[in-house]
Amino acid sequence: MTGLLRARRGAVVLFGLAALVPIVVRDAYFLDSLVLILLWGALSAAWNVAGGYAGQVSIGHASFFGIGAYSAALMVTRFGRGPWLGMLVGVVISIGAGFVIGFLSNRLKGPYFALSTIAFSQVLLIGVSRWRGFTAGAEGIPVPFRPGFATLGLSHVGWVYMALAAALVCYAVEVYLERSRVGYQLAGVREDEDAAEALGIPTRRLKVGAVTFSAALTSVCGSLWAQYIGFVDPTYVFSVDLSVRFALNTIIGGMGTALGPFLGSILITSLETYLRATFAGVKAGFTGIYLIVYGTALILVVRFVPEGLAGIATRLRMKRAHA
């Protein structure tokens, strides 16, 4: 265990800090940023399971996020039950959706697959927006705040630990994929599917499994997010921008690395919070500014720094070791 902890120094430091912060800092704004960093990190890590570890790059993960968000919100507002049950339902539905996407991943490669995931998320977006009777349509659903754990009505500090728990679960899944038998086989699938098949690896099954698992994790985070933010808007929770966001954090942080999504989230979420605060007074058009920055960052990183922040850190560490 100690060997594991030493090898994952970075993670121990980051998550340890996150755990300690609420004890010291009580500023609601700061804690809010921390919750968002952790949630976005968890979501990006969930995406990484399919995109980075299994090599199935989807630009439609918002599908699962939205399913999770709506399941939680509707369970509370329509059925009068708790959000945890909604989360469970969301996971089940997302697993179903994950099977569909997984099936597509076995039929389509690369850009074709990515396109189909976008189409899928848009189908959900339009469907949910138009289904007024059930989902309150395009108006969205405000999620009421009721204090208590069962209703996920937590304090800021409570949310930090909730988000941290989600982040740790997603991180643990990633680490597992780096060290386990399944993880190595998945790496083979990612590198060269035909070769992996020839070696006895059930590539289709593994791909579907990875996508489905990723979907479930994303859905859980979506449910949490709905309860935290308090409002579910279909044009946001199923949007392509959101799907890109999950991928963006991971790419900037280092695709296929366990800590990458969290590093990316720290950078991007902090940047966003900063930009939002700076331009708060200026007219609404400026909300697009950080997306322009992200888009450009994506183009540049993917071309010039494909290993992301985590990769740079590894390179520096190796340089120091050889110096």
Binding site: G110, I126, D241, K283, G288, T296, I299, V302
Partner: protein
């Protein structure tokens, strides 16, 4: 009727994919920029979109050249993932430049011919649709003719068929790609101008079209121009039938589902080589 416009949008996309082997996720955004061009030209100078089209084509051609040099050239030989994220990033950047510069308000282009109504049997068209389609079809045919009969067109088609062989024959593939991309963008920019009076203009207007044009392109077989034209007609017909049966609100779902169905059952298109999409284009 809209088939003609869909054809113009899709032909650029199929060219870019067929010759450069790149899926351009930002294609819809150039369409959106074309729509905004029409809007501002109309708003500021009361210029009719049909004339703006003449300006749009060379303008977007240049835009295509610039974007190619800045963004696309570096990733032509990169992995699929890099290409996907590069064009996705480009799409995000363009959408939000529009958002920041012109706000998210819906804009409208309302030239005089929009209210002129024509009848053909029991169906009603407005003059705008008719002329837009005609111009679109003309441009599309011109493009096909260009590809078929000019030297440049032949060179481009050769590169599409075998990149390495083309290089060995002394073809400067970089110039081919640059030309291809520029033509593709010019086509979709022009389509945007033509389409502007018929739809609302807003920063994310491109998305609905790009997915539609992918349906067309996939149906017709990626890289197949004739296929793209036939595909456009099919999609337009399906759309009309769909909105009859399901109502206008659901027609978008309809063609997304069509897209997924085509990708699953006939991914190489109605005319393409079976299995092409799994051979790792």
């Amino acid at each position: 009727m809209l088939g003609g416009i869909y054809a113009l949008i899709s032909i650029g996309l199929t060219l870019i994919f067929g010759i450069m082997r790149v899926v351009n996720f930002a294609h819809g955004e150039f369409l959106m920029l074309g729509m905004y061009l029409a809007f501002w030209a109309f708003f500021l100078f009361t210029a009719d979109p049909y004339f703006v089209v003449l300006v749009a084509m060379p303008l977007f051609f240049v835009v295509g050249l610039v974007v190619y040099g800045l963004v696309m050239r570096g990733v032509i030989h990169a992995s699929h993932n890099v290409q996907i994220f590069t064009t996705v990033g480009l799409s995000t950047v363009l959408q939000n430049i529009a958002l920041v510069a012109w706000s998210g308000d819906f804009r409208y282009v309302r030239p005089w011919h929009l209210s002129t109504v024509l009848r053909a049997g029991s169906t009603i068209f407005n003059l705008t649709q008719v002329v837009a389609s005609l111009i679109a079809i003309t441009l599309t045919l011109a493009l096909v003719a260009f590809m078929k009969w000019t030297h440049a067109g032949r060179v481009m088609r050769a590169t599409a068929q075998d990149r390495d062989a083309a290089t060995l024959m002394g073809i400067d593939t970089d110039r081919v790609y640059r030309l291809t991309f520029a033509i593709g963008i010019a086509a979709v920019g022009a389509a945007g101008v033509l389409v502007a009076p018929l739809y609302s203009v807003y920063p994310t207007a491109g998305l609905q079209f790009v997915l539609l044009s992918y349906v067309v392109v996939v149906l017709g077989g990626l890289g197949d121009m004739l296929g793209a034209m036939i595909g456009s007609l099919i999609v337009a017909a399906v759309e009309v039938a769909g909105s009859y049966v399901f109502g206008v609100a659901w027609k978008e779902i309809f063609y997304f589902l069509l897209f997924i169905l085509v990708l699953v059952f006939r991914p190489a298109g109605l005319f393409g080589q079976r299995g092409a999409e799994t051979l790792g284009v």
